[in-house]
């Protein structure tokens, strides 16, 4: 039995329906697609495979979250209006084309035009998977904190960031070709900077928006979530890695590169997860009167 005792009050109310399963999906799904994308870019079939594996795992979490998982296939029925429905297609395309590309990449016997076609398709699908969750949130009329055009972009950026971090962490385990860390770390510096700009601008926009949105920002900057948001997402997840990496990055390649970048990667992943967590938990409805 539901125990929501604020149900009968006219007030700003938190969204409660989406919990850690959805949050983890947002994080993992995005990261998986991101990982696939870079892997595709640097042409590393095994890494691509790893990305797909993560994606399947993430999608499984999403299934668990359904009230009636047995009927999941019905979710494909409304692509013309529902971003969730569209997402189902993006994920499917990515898995199929991605798998094809991996297979081609390993067997590497495919005729050029077909292979490029598959790659192009898979790349597109990957980008779609990275951004569509942003579109699930941003049009929401219910939760002002979510309806911002920033989200698709932020989610893309964060997904790529996380994808690369996963690649960095996985690099020692992956079969050849070996993975060049220096360029990745440089990319991350740019990405993290980009995320920082986006997040800060989102916050500043929202703090001038509807009642509930302002309350959300208050939660994140002064209220219940302030420590996690300012300390975790901004501090540990973005600023710290930037400060640490910044000075050393452009000096001729640093020794013991892996341990160094891996640590930064972990910090950023932590921040990314927290970000997805807070975006969902700080979602508030406007009061009805």
């Amino acid at each position: 039995m539901s125990r929501r005792f604020d149900e009968f009050l006219i007030d700003v109310k938190p969204q409660r329906e989406w919990g850690w399963l959805v949050i983890t999906y947002l994080f993992l799904g995005g990261a998986a697609a991101g990982l696939f994308l870079v892997a595709l870019y640097i042409g590393h079939a095994w890494a691509e495979g790893l990305g797909l594996l993560l994606l399947v795992l993430a999608t499984f979490l999403l299934l668990l979250d359904l009230g009636r998982p047995g009927r999941f296939w019905r979710a494909f029925f409304r692509p013309m209006t529902s971003w969730i429905s569209r997402g189902c297609y993006f994920i499917t395309f990515l898995v199929l084309l991605g798998a094809a590309d991996v297979w081609l990449g390993l067997a590497s016997t495919a005729p050029e035009p077909l292979a490029t076609l598959v790659k192009a398709g898979a790349a597109l699908a990957a980008v779609a998977v990275m951004v569509y969750t942003g579109f699930v949130l941003s049009p929401s009329p219910a939760i002002p904190f979510w309806n911002s055009t920033f989200f698709p972009v932020i989610f893309f950026a964060y997904s790529l960031l996380a994808g690369i971090d996963f690649l960095i962490l996985a690099s020692p385990l992956l079969p050849p070709p070996p993975i060049e860390l220096a360029p990745l770390e440089k990319a991350q510096f740019g990405l993290a900077l980009f995320c920082l700009v986006l997040v800060v601008s989102h916050v500043s926009v929202m703090s001038r928006s509807a009642v509930a949105a302002r309350k959300s920002i208050e939660l994140l900057t002064r209220g219940r979530w302030a420590v996690l948001f300012l300390g975790g997402v901004i501090g540990v997840g973005l600023v710290l890695p930037l400060l640490v990496a910044g000075p050393v990055l452009w000096r001729s390649s640093v020794p013991a590169m892996f341990a160094f970048t891996a640590t930064l990667a972990l910090l950023r992943l932590f921040g990314d997860y927290l970000f997805r967590f807070l975006v969902i938990r700080a979602g508030l409805y406007d009061p009805l009167l």
Binding site: I10, E17, I143
Partner: protein, 200 residues
Amino acid sequence: MARYGMVIDLNSCIGCNACTIACKAEHATPAGIFWAKVLEKEVGKFPAARRVFLPVLCNHCQKPACMEVCPTGATYKRGDGIVLIDYDQCIGCRSCMEACPYAARSFYDGNGAYYPGFTTPYETMRQDFAEGVVMKCTFCADRVDQGLDPACVQTCPTECRIFGDLEDPESKVSQLIAQKKARPLLPEKGLEPSVFYVGG
């Protein structure tokens, strides 16, 4: 084709919650789930303070956000504007709940019986919802189809809930909306609700 709607007179509503329970009785809604609610808040400081009552239900929006995000088509709108959920199609993804600004929807976890460890004959007969789906006010579509008023309207002791056809200029709802400056909740959300409020 009619377009059904409701007008609620906030001056007359006394917060008795007859509507709340009438809805529960009519639809055997599960324990802890209310399709009709009477929200409250206080305004002002003592002694110039008072409580405010706001009866709410699904607004049967003309542009239902819930329907737009529904990936399965379980949520649909009838020709007469009534927004319904097909429990056989719903997968319980709850995106509709995220999308509805009016908190009109509830997720049913399958524990519907009111007496711990006992399901009454009434519940056995009337609670025919599948577990794991989302539910909400149906505007009493079944009653309306028989030409009856919704249960909450029928019982309202102050007669402050009026139901009718918004497209018929002669209907009491249309009249009220025309005369008194009726407004929906959160019009800025652009969902074009079919439930309007006057007074208050």
